[in-house]
Assembly symmetry: C2
Homo-oligomer: 199 residues x 2
Amino acid sequence: MRPYDERLDHFLSRAAKVFADQGYHSTTMRDLAAATDMSLAGMYYYVRGKEELLFRIQERCFMRVLAGAESALAGLGDADPSGRLQAFIRHHVTFFAAHMAEMKVLSHEANSLTGERQRKVDAIKRRYVDLLEGLLKDVAPDESAVDRSAATYTLFGMMNWIYNWYDPAGEIDPERLADLIARTFIGGFAEARSTVHGG
Amino acid sequence: MRPYDERLDHFLSRAAKVFADQGYHSTTMRDLAAATDMSLAGMYYYVRGKEELLFRIQERCFMRVLAGAESALAGLGDADPSGRLQAFIRHHVTFFAAHMAEMKVLSHEANSLTGERQRKVDAIKRRYVDLLEGLLKDVAPDESAVDRSAATYTLFGMMNWIYNWYDPAGEIDPERLADLIARTFIGGFAEARSTVHGG
DNA sequence: TGAAAGTTCGAACAACCGTTCGAACCCCAT
DNA sequence: ATGGGGTTCGAACGGTTGTTCGAACTTTCA
């Protein structure tokens, strides 16, 4: 890896941490300069501006979590739908815990981009949402499309909300949290679909 | 109600809508002036400043949702724990759908206040979280405190995330969404506690 | 060694921010 | 009508923001 790319990467990680702590809009370029040991003007050699910085962070993180999920599913066969769903949840939650700052920026600043950049990130997000929705379709094939879509977002809510409260250094390790979420959602989802379907 | 209080109320509602749409930090006082048909200086007759405006919106909304939840539970006996839990979920979700803008501001700008104001809102939030956690304790008394706390936040995630995707004017009405969440969570929560408790 | 390419940065700019202040306005009891 | 409290607002202020620019520094390689 070229030293330029390495410094850019380090810069993006540091910036993500600051964005996660203070929020994107109330973080100034001067804050970032101080946190990265760069000069104010020096950062513009690596990034065209503040919004492109946010875009780079979000795009990089989203591509990684998407690729990670796909490869986590690639090892499994198509036979066990709820096992695949559990694997997705496990990957998402552990990835979230391992990249807390970037994922918080991804979740919390979802609407802070504008124009073309917003569109590009939304396109990746759509692919990721569709991936999960497909898994839910395999678990409960008879579910209506509307209810399945709502269930998808509900599950994302369980997982993405953790940036508001979860402490990776606390008592609950990421795998245990992932299993807690997976058991709760899969259990309730499957049960609700099969037993209450007639009511 | 005095005309002053009426105009203040109207102002807070309008401002909440703008905060919900554009975000607190990137909304300017000039934006608010335009959206409320007031002059820039005129708003300062009703509110001490921008942050106090956010505080008033959050405090008012939080007190209402807390009081609403308590009164929704007051009618029920202590006999049926999961029925009480379901009532809480139903109230929270329908309230959310009915006051989308304020609740979005509550969820999304949870850390935008500072100092004393942050403390005051956090105190109300704590009461609200404790209320739900108490309901979960009645549903699963043997659960460890740590897991129960995580389950509480997980359920809040399911409910609060809806500001990112839910359209109250869409195909799913609030009651149906509330039941979907309640069935999914309660089913999975109760099942996971009873069957997997030994593993 | 020398110069070209790659990288850093001090200083400044124009625009915009939240807030203030005093004057003007409106409404109602006298 | 008239005085006075409640209410509105135009205009401006000081400070902060993202961004730019040219000069200076460092590295690279012939």
